[in-house]
């Protein structure tokens, strides 16, 4: 059974606030699911030299359109921000000057 500390650590990594009840529930759920998906560890790796599916898709370094796809979208994009002050979108101050 995955520990409470592990669940809290994951919540930290995932930037999720969880209630105590949910943490307990997740301990159970994640453990059960990991038991099931743990089957994948039986797979042997490196057997076949796997051909990578990814391929490069290139295009010439040229302007594609006469206008920017963001033309006329500014108001829509601004409007989605939770906080606005006139022409500015408000976010938390994240860079603190060292005093």
């Amino acid at each position: 059974m995955i520990s409470k500390e592990e669940v809290l650590n994951l919540a930290q990594l995932a930037r999720l606030k969880l209630s105590d009840q949910e943490v307990a529930g997740l301990q159970k759920d994640i453990s059960n699911i990991l038991d099931y998906v743990g089957q994948v560890s039986a797979v042997s790796t490196g057997k076949e030299k796997e051909k990578p599916l990814q391929r490069n898709v290139m295009r010439p370094d040229e302007l594609r359109a006469a206008s920017s796809p963001m033309d006329g979208k500014e108001e829509a994009l601004r409007g989605a921000f939770p906080k606005r002050e006139g022409d500015f979108n408000v976010v938390r101050k994240i860079i603190q000057k060292d005093e």
Binding site: L10, D29, Y36, I94
Partner: protein
Amino acid sequence: MTDLNKLSIVEASQKLAAGEITSLQLVEACLAEIEKRNPSLNAYLEVFSDAREQATTADARRVAGEKGALLGIPLAIKDNILIEGRTASAASKMLENYVATYDATVIKKLKEAGAVFVGRTNMDEFAHGSSTENSAFGPTKNPHDESRVPGGSSGGSAAAVAAHMALGALGTDTGGSIREPASFTGLVGLKPTYGAVSRSGLMAMGSSLDQAGPLTHTVADAELIFDVIKGKDLLDSTTIDETSYPPRAATKKMGVPRHLLEKGIDPDVLERFEASLETLRAKGYEVVDIELPLAGLALAVYYVIMPAEVSANLARFDGVRYGHSQKGETLFDDYAASRGEGFGPEVRRRIMLGTYVLSSGYFDAYFGKATAARAQLRAEVERVLEGVDCIVTPTTTSPATKLGEKTDDPLAMYLLDIFTVTANLTGNPAISVPMGTVEREGKQLPIGIQFTAAHGNESTLFAAAKTLE
């Protein structure tokens, strides 16, 4: 003329072309049905207030000389597909009031074809689920039996079409979310080859797994929609075209992985399956046994890879630029509170699981192994499809479950995807087609059969599926 909403897209298209009906009449018929049935079914989260105007515009385009099979056809669109200027919430509180700032490529193509968007349909939140019970705005009911689920995550789209509240719909399929609801509601549901349809403008769930596709009453209708929405797209570099995969000669053979059907399937579902195989034989196909040794692992592989990709794709929802925003003590608390509140429990569960399998110390054991298994599974399916046209299984092990039946146990819910996830992992195209009904508590419930074909061979799927219509 009554019951115009019960026409297939092909039939409606012919009548529109012949001037027998107008798009406005089609849309009015759908809206009348919506008024009757949507309050209890909850298939649509929003019916677009300008649906009639869209129809009138389509009729005007036709008068001006345009043709096109989808011109004026009313379609329902899943809530995770962006239509510029309209709300798209992925059935989540996180995006409850989010207005899309651009059109998805599939929407752009449907607009060019003149389709009418009737409304946005309910789904499992962020497409996380197989029953539409994970919607933040209430579940959708199965039109065939309102005590049961329509399947998920494209349950709203499926219910809308099955109840004739639209002539067709778009859904998205990451682990079976088009095909499973199709099976539960008696529709045709297609998951195209990975890359056949652009993902630009789809809210990403698992970027290596997602595909948008049609839910319709007939195979010809699904083919019609697929032909309009497919195509290479500069905005999605994973897209392919007809030259990407070599054409194949038909073998007229259908492959059944008998070893996967030995247990866990309802007996009457198996009966319907065998009866369908008989129909295939009668139509000239040879049905052979095939082996897919790694297929038993597919669900485990999926539930490692998918949550991992989900945890990455949903990191963008931080309450800063859009979406639900909650202020905490610190920046970290802002994120944690916004996300904790905006996301529902299943979404949080999958993000946590994904974070685990990607975290240092566990990455190789889970994600590394799952990725290797995935490559091996893909190679295995490719090899098998060299000898047969399609791999055939039931789409689901049982008909639609009851509302609330699987909601206590996440793993039990995940097992609903057992036959569908393989095609997402390997990128093969797959279609679910109705194979009759089975009886539960006096009600006839639909059940689907699934065909999987080689990459790029949707035509093989359509041919096989048509034999069962």
